[in-house]
Symmetry: C2
Subunit: 160 residues, 2 copies
């Protein structure tokens, strides 16, 4: 991660990566989407050191994707809950998972993490939407063609 070296990169992707472009952050989120919410459970399942987990949770809380709340049941333990913005990261996770399932299939299939509220059924995955809202297939989309790509990027994102 080059969060250390400041990038004057005014790009949405960069900004998203600033928070979740991190190995542990994504895995914490993955577990959070499965409902895992406590420090201890995360630490044990991920095999992460306590100091790093603590720092990650702090960063993610400050970034507003997680919220630390006192557990009602217990009173002295805590829960890290997904905020609205954290919840909105769900498509990123599902997109990653879909890609992994297609191109790096694991022995045991992996179920998706969210359900549709109305039906209670697991969601299917994620899809790119056309301008009119139709879901598109991968082969229906293509990179912007033609020359001038380098200039376009520099204009859009900025020269370094």
């Amino acid at each position: 991660m080059s969060r250390a070296t400041p990038h004057h990169d005014d790009c949405s992707v960069t900004k998203a990566l600033d928070i979740i472009g991190d190995w542990w952050a994504l895995l914490i989120l993955r577990n959070a989407f499965h409902g895992m919410r406590t420090f201890d459970a995360l630490q044990k399942q991920l095999g992460i050191s306590t100091s790093v987990l603590s720092s990650r949770l702090k960063t993610m809380t400050e970034a507003g994707v997680l919220q630390k709340v006192v557990s009602k049941a217990d009173g002295r333990s805590f829960e890290y809950r997904l905020t609205a913005s954290g919840h909105d990261l769900y498509p990123v996770l599902v997109a990653l998972m879909q890609w992994g399932e297609k191109w790096r299939p694991s022995a045991k299939g992996q179920r998706l993490m969210l359900i549709e509220k109305a039906s209670g059924l697991p969601v299917q995955g994620v899809a790119v939407l056309a301008a009119d809202g139709r879901p598109l297939k991968p082969w229906d989309v293509a990179p912007v063609p033609g020359p001038g790509a380098d200039e376009r990027v520099r204009e859009l994102i900025g020269p370094h």
Copy 2:
């Protein structure tokens, strides 16, 4: 990144992250989707050191998301093109960008990167699909509820 420390984590997300859970890899892909394909252009725009860029391109090529081809026009320069599996990473990028635009809006709005082949129009974004294929809104989905989350994760992903 803890790709160094081996994780016996048989999870699609983990496997996807192994290739693209990296600051530079994602930015390279972002630029690739905009049509930026040469070593030099990438190096200049990203402000990355040549050695790191070289290593990233090698890794990504070996991982099969990029393909190194001789540029027809020139004959002695090269292009790094998205493969089919690289192209399939598009939803991940768009999901990231969408999140960034919503929660970390930049001064100048950012356009999306791909067009629909049929219409030539830029795509709208990405959406989660219900079991029957309907695109869902964020508030229509929820994490799997109830207790037992910790056990579920351990069962699904494995204990460390």
